[in-house]
Structures are given as C-alpha cells and as structure tokens.
C-alpha cells in the first residue's frame, strides 16, 4: 500500500467519523465543530486528488462561509447556544434505508477498475477557461439561482413592518 493510499484511507476514515459525529452529538455547537473538521478533511482529499482550486474553494466556502452561516442559524434560533437537543430515538427503518442505499452503491464497486492509476491533474487556467468558456452557462445559471435565492432569502428574513 502506497503512502497516497494510506493518506486517503486516513482522510476517508476521518471524513466518515466526523460526519457521523456531527449528526450524533447532542450539542449543536459541537456539531458545527465536527462538520467544520469534516469540510477541512474533504478539502485535504481534494488536494490529494490534485484539485487544489477545489480544495481552496472548499476551505473558503464550506469550512468558512457555510459553517458560519450554520452557526448563525443556531444562534438566532436558540435562546442559549449551548443547549442540548432532545434525545430522539433512531428507528430501525431509517438506518436500514441508509445501509441498503450504501449496499446498492457499493455493488458498483466491483466493476470499477481495481488497479491504482495516476490521478489526472488539471491546470487551474484550463479549469477557468473551461468554466468561463464552453461551460459558461453553468455559471450563468448559478448566477440566476443566487439572484433568486438572495432576493428571496433577504425578503424572508427581513422583519416586515406590516
């Protein structure tokens, strides 16, 4: 097993662990901590995959902006930030559904090439040319989504005077 593979294994285990922990801890603020680690961990995986631009983006948007947004959400909806969630039982059905989903996805593992190959890396310039060139419409669409989202979200959270 090569070093890269070992690194991936470790990062993957951390990702799974932090994601699980984020959902299972009973204090929401701890959740935010775990999820932040999760985002950072994924960023590391992107670097491992030779996608540095995405790694940086992940750090900036997810580990930064989204995490803070979530924290903000918690703070505005709670009177006390460090309060525990009520314990909710976890029924067998959701777990089973999640596990079976995983099993179905895992059934595709067998047909993928098993051998290790070199990861293809891309020049960030090529990426930007692709993003703003032929695949430009995706960004335009993202712009429309953001326009709608921002306009609506601002309207919603703004205290009405009526």
């Amino acid at each position: 097993m090569s070093l890269e593979e070992l690194a991936f294994l470790a990062l993957a285990l951390v990702a799974i662990g932090t994601a699980t922990a984020a959902l299972l801890v009973r204090e929401l603020v701890h959740t935010i901590l775990w999820i932040a680690i999760f985002f950072v961990d994924l960023s590391a995986i992107y670097f491992l995959l030779s996608a540095p631009f995405l790694g940086v983006l992940q750090l900036g948007v997810y580990a930064g902006a989204v995490t803070i947004l979530l924290l903000f959400g918690i703070m505005t909806t709670r009177k006390r930030i460090f309060s525990r969630e009520a314990v909710t039982g976890i029924g067998p059905v959701p777990v089973a559904l999640a596990v079976v989903t995983f099993i179905f996805l895992a059934s595709a593992l067998g047909e993928l090439p098993q051998s290790t190959t070199a990861v293809q890396s891309y020049d960030p310039t090529a990426l930007s040319q692709n993003l703003f060139g032929p695949n430009g419409p995706w960004l335009l669409l993202l712009g429309l989504i953001m326009l709608a989202g921002v306009a609506g979200a601002i309207y919603l959270v703004r205290e009405g005077r009526e």
């Binding site: 799974i16 989204v66 070199a118 891309y122 609506g152």
Partner: protein
C-alpha cells in the same frame, strides 16, 4: 503523480451519502437536516472531483467545473433553507420539523 484507485473513493462517497441520508431521515432539528444535506452534497462534489481525476474519457475537466458550480450552489441552498427556517422560527418558535405537522393526510 499521485497513484490511487477508484473503488475506494466510490466507497467513501457512498458512505458519506448514506450518512447524509441517515441524518435526513432521523434528525428533527432543521439545522441538522441542513448539515445532513450538505454531507450528501459533499459526497456528490467528491464524486465529480474523483471522476474528473479518473476520467472515463480523455479528459474529465468539466467534472471539476461542475464541482465548482456545485459548491456555490450548495452555499446558496443553505442560505435559502436558513431563511425559510428562520421565518418559520419567528412564527412557531422552534425549528424542530416534528412540530411542523399541521399539514397532513
């Protein structure tokens, strides 16, 4: 360059997706729901990134482009979700989705 194999990544994203699904199905706090969705969304982005790194064709560059767009999209989604739930919280005083079951049957 870096040598890795594909199945491990698929297993990771499958696991993350499963965790996300699990969260969506079991968590009642809306913030946790959002986090679950983001975990699953990260599985998606991860998918695009590693499929870009192990392209089925000659180049998987557009996979990375998609990943970039999706990161932006996911952030917007979180903002919208938060806006909705904050408005709901203002009226109901809770963000527990189990308390929002007025509409049923």
């Amino acid at each position: 360059m870096t040598d890795l194999s594909l199945p491990g990544f698929l297993a990771l994203s499958a696991a993350l997706f499963g965790i996300g699904v699990f969260g969506i199905l079991t968590r009642r706090n809306f913030i946790l729901l959002l986090i679950s969705i983001e975990i699953a969304m990260n599985a998606v982005i991860l998918n695009f990134v590693y499929f870009a790194a192990f392209p089925a064709g000659t180049s998987g560059l557009s996979g990375q482009s998609i990943a970039v767009v999706l990161v932006g999209f996911a952030a917007t989604e979180v903002a919208v979700g938060l806006a909705i739930v904050l408005a709901l919280n203002r009226l109901k005083g809770t963000i527990n989705v189990a308390r929002a079951t007025e509409l049923k049957e």
